[in-house]
């Protein structure tokens, strides 16, 4: 991880000094354990704040739309896929970007680690290749990194950036034989009533803060349907109908666009497994159109393009 940090700083310094880019978007060390903060470095002096470790789960592609400057951005596999999405959807120009690809072995699930700590507070966290060593008062814990990955990272099959200008580390082996949709199949097998109940329970604690939407790089509409006020399409209460409407519509807007970066789930203050919605859609798009979002900048998205051999089983 330290090696990544050094190479990110090195590249950032070079790009800024040579005036190849105006800004560098990366992470700086967080103020609490298991969190880093997205950071915009504008000068070579600020570059020394950039870091890299297993707490860089926020998707940095989220900070690109509507920027007009030349940007270097650190990108994990998922970030790079969302960058491809942005390019395909005309949110940013490839020429504006210098992508610092960061091959990724998964980001840590702060929620599950914190649960494991049972209220004890770490004073130091050290990440080695396969372990997380956490120390503090009454605390000396070594966790296996692979068991405490974000759930989307554990089933990720695009750990290497799909598009980049420089790499800040060696390419990593992609995970094979991953069952990406075991949980989706479980829901698919439920009766309609059980499904309804399952999703109602899933979102019952939602406070409508929209962190899931705002953390999502693919949610960049100038005015989200939730914020339309003339007319207002969606109720803003926490009545199940309103909450449901928000989550269903949000998910459908991401059909064929979601890269399963996990930003939504990671950001939720009340721990809702919001990916349960988008994963089903991702699975359907893969099965129906053999399409994965954000892989190829030269390919039109599945739901943006008609092919004569598209499945039409829904026409009865």
């Amino acid at each position: 991880m330290q090696a990544y940090t050094e190479r990110i700083r090195e590249a950032a310094k070079r790009l800024l000094s040579d005036e190849k880019v105006d800004v560098v978007i990366g992470f700086r060390k967080g103020t609490i354990p298991f969190m880093n903060e997205p950071y915009l470095a504008k000068t070579p002096e600020q570059v020394d704040q950039l870091v890299w470790d297993g707490n860089c789960g926020v998707n940095l592609a989220n900070y690109l739309p509507r920027r007009t400057d030349r940007i270097a951005v650190v990108a994990k596999g998922c970030d790079s896929r969302n960058i491809v999405e942005h390019i395909v959807e005309n949110q940013i120009k490839r020429e504006q970007l210098h992508i610092l690809g960061a091959p990724c072995k998964g980001m840590m699930d702060k929620r599950r680690i914190n649960a494991e700590l049972k209220g004890r507070e770490p004073s130091s966290v050290e990440e080695t290749g396969s372990e997380i060593k956490i120390k503090g008062q009454d605390l000396d814990l070594t966790l296996s990194r692979s068991e405490f990955l974000q759930e989307n990272c554990a089933i990720c099959i695009h750990r290497n950036p799909v598009i980049y200008d420089d790499l800040v580390g060696d390419l990593v082996e992609e995970q094979k034989d991953v069952d990406r949709y075991a949980d989706v199949r479980k829901v698919e097998a439920m009766s309609s009533e059980d499904k309804w109940q399952y999703f109602d329970d899933l979102i019952s604690t939602c406070i409508r803060c929209y962190a899931c939407r705002n953390a999502c790089p693919a949610c960049y509409c100038p005015t989200c349907f939730v914020d339309e006020s003339r007319p207002q399409w969606v109720g803003k209460t926490i009545d199940p109908t309103d909450t449901r409407t928000f989550h269903f519509l949000r998910a459908y807007h991401l059909a064929g666009r979601c890269t399963d970066c996990g930003a939504c789930e990671r950001s939720c203050p009340v721990g809702i497994k919001v990916r349960q919605f988008t994963k089903k859609l991702e699975k359907d798009v893969k099965e129906l159109f053999d399409y994965e979002a954000g892989i190829n900048p030269d390919m039109r998205p599945a739901l943006d393009f008609h092919r004569p051999d598209d499945p039409q089983g829904f026409i009865k």
């Binding site: 604690t205 962190a211 953390a215 950001s267 009340v270």
Partner: protein, 350 residues
């Protein structure tokens, strides 16, 4: 003022006594976090919690509240007349609330309960609720209440303060309401001398473990416009994704929106939590938005908490240092860091 000692063995029975008088709420572990919930049985309460994920402000200021109902039916003689929606003001006890959260209600009172303006629902709910607090023996690393004019043993916002002294709780009333509550409890002991002594030690240890995290004085002394125009916001705002997490988790964020929902011939007037982080919050009917940019909204939140509120009301910051926003922010914007920038930054005009 009265005081009692409740042994841990006896505690469930005491909770049971309170439950027999009315509704009792307490921290309950639900799924992944502790939240305040109505107790079904005394054992549900888990006082080993640090703090609840969300603040308990919704006891008095619910996320979604039906204020009025009305009819729009043409033949209804009471057409278009707002009728107050029924509310439940029966007595309830909130058991185990942290001193910071209770203090936050006092700050919120400045908005909902003043000489000239009284929000009837806030006021009546406050009146019918007894806050039995639990002092923090081990504050979290994200807590900074001691820097925000309160503290882990601050009883000022509570009706009763309980302190966990190891084998039991010392409970002291702070208000008349609290005294009545304590006197109604049967079969408890007087406070043993060693428990009172332990209490003092615990208070000292808890306060010292936090120290002063930041100094608000320089922020108060700076000119508002200097802070407003300071380049620090350029740095602070970048990572913000403009979700409402910080404001919704915060015990002192009280802003709301009022909306009408109509279906057929009947309508509801609703009051809903709103957030200064949302662009819609300041969106005018004219189409103009005075805070259309993220940087303006981020500045607003911190300026309101740390500068405008103290300047306007003169009773300290609109923050009690509970640290919820620090923990919940999806991108790690830390109010302690922002406050430090605000107190140290030089104000060089760009």
């Amino acid at each position: 003022m009265s005081e009692i000692y409740i042994s841990k063995e006896k505690f469930p029975e005491v909770v049971g006594q309170l439950m027999s008088h009315g509704r009792v709420y307490g921290p309950v572990f639900q799924g992944q976090y502790h939240e305040f919930a109505r107790l079904d049985k005394p054992e549900d309460i888990d006082l080993s919690f640090q703090n609840t994920r969300l603040s308990p402000k919704d006891f008095f200021h619910p996320h979604s509240e039906r204020m009025f109902t009305y009819s729009l039916a043409k033949d209804d003689p009471e057409r278009c007349i707002l009728k107050e929606a029924p509310k439940d003001y029966s007595t309830k006890v909130v058991l185990g609330i942290r001193p910071c959260d209770a203090k936050a209600f006092q700050l919120d009172d400045r908005n909902f309960d003043t000489e000239t303006i009284k929000d009837p629902w806030w006021v009546q709910r406050r009146k019918s609720t007894i806050l039995v607090g639990l002092a923090c023996n081990s504050p979290c690393s994200t807590c900074f209440c001691t820097s925000m004019d309160t503290g882990p043993f601050d009883a000022s916002g509570l009706d009763v303060l309980m302190v966990d002294v190891g084998d039991g709780y010392v409970a002291r009333s702070v208000t008349e309401k609290g005294r009545e509550c304590i006197s109604s409890i049967k079969g408890v002991q007087t406070v043993p001398a060693q428990a009172a002594e332990k209490e003092g030690q615990l208070k000292k240890t808890a306060e010292e473990s936090m120290g002063k995290v930041l100094d608000m004085k320089p922020i108060y002394e700076k000119k508002t416009l200097e802070l407003f125009h300071d380049p620090l916001w350029e740095e602070v705002h970048f990572s913000c994704i403009n979700c409402g997490t910080c404001t919704f988790a915060c015990p002192t964020c009280w802003c709301f929106d009022i909306q009408d929902e109509v279906q057929g011939d009947s309508g509801d007037r609703l009051r809903l939590w709103d957030s200064c982080m949302f662009p819609l919050f300041t969106f005018h009917g004219s189409g103009h938005n005075p805070r259309s940019q993220k940087i303006q909204r981020v500045r607003q939140r911190f300026m309101h908490k740390l500068k405008y509120y103290p300047e306007k009301y003169g009773n300290g910051p609109a923050c009690v240092g509970c640290g919820r926003c620090v923990k919940a922010c999806p991108v790690n914007i830390d109010i302690r860091h922002v406050a430090r920038l605000m107190s140290t930054s030089c104000s060089c005009p760009a």
